[in-house]
Subunit: 200 residues, 2 copies
Amino acid sequence: MAESNALPLVVLAEHFAKLPGIGMKSAQRLAYFVMSMSDSEVKAFADAIVTAHKTVHECSICCNLTDKELCPICENPGRDGSVICVVESPKDVTAFERTKEYKGVYHVLHGLISPIDNVMPDSLRIKQLLARIQNGGVEEVIMATNPTVEGEATAMYISRLLKPLGVRVTRLAFGLPVGAVLEYADEVTLYKALENRNEI
Amino acid sequence: MAESNALPLVVLAEHFAKLPGIGMKSAQRLAYFVMSMSDSEVKAFADAIVTAHKTVHECSICCNLTDKELCPICENPGRDGSVICVVESPKDVTAFERTKEYKGVYHVLHGLISPIDNVMPDSLRIKQLLARIQNGGVEEVIMATNPTVEGEATAMYISRLLKPLGVRVTRLAFGLPVGAVLEYADEVTLYKALENRNEI
């Protein structure tokens, strides 16, 4: 794009290229696409970016993103406040809500401990989680971070902080995904499935 | 994202999802990413979208995108105005400029004839091309559209319009790409390479 004839297009493409998963070639294509949009579409798009960034912030209880003081889940009296599901990001809340089975509340960490990426416990919403539990009424904390090195480390770290507070700490079950084919399962998953086997 | 807790985030994700090559999942990820940007980055991004759309328009000679009256290529007295390379889109100009070999000028069609997509000759910049040639001084027109059905049809259509004007009309050479392996070349490319063989 350095060879492009229109500087504002280059600037726009560079902005697109900063977004995750968008390389310089895609960014250039997106910039050209913006040229083909109508005036009103362009204005609405730019406004949506500014508005979302300005009005969306963290829920003062669970740290999920919301444009209100509290997110709809924390505000809902029908949710069971005694069970907190701890997740890495707001996307994970969306995933659990899709199951339509979980009736407890959430706590969003906004990241996982990863010293290699310079993400230390202090930059996560762990203090807020401890404060919620110290306020009382919480019986179980479900550690629902991803089954990755960082996810496991974060789950371990938080569970050690929580145990002395007398709260039950659980971890998501790991095993074969529904619909999986044994033959293609990786050995760690298969071992977990064997280890966590249940009576039928 | 329908289950999300923040409407402005849903709106923003829907805008991202309208961009080419971005599905709803990626759009959601991009919307979350915008949340992590600083105030100034967000403002600069939104401004870049509006500014590019407002200031970038077609060069009054070659129809390439530019933020000036003329694009830098048409304005450059060092370029050979007697040779016009006709391309589908501004991206193709960038590709040719990257070769650093071509010293002529361009004409950007902004599309290819494709009745199935309702793109007829009238919606391309063909009239502008004819006017340039009628103004005189043009000796050769290189049809540099893609070697696809639409690209070939467009090249044929335009060459028929140009022939009566007494201008030389040429087409890009087709053959094996440099570095290709014969074994994996498709039969049409191989046939073209055979047909257009040169003395060594």
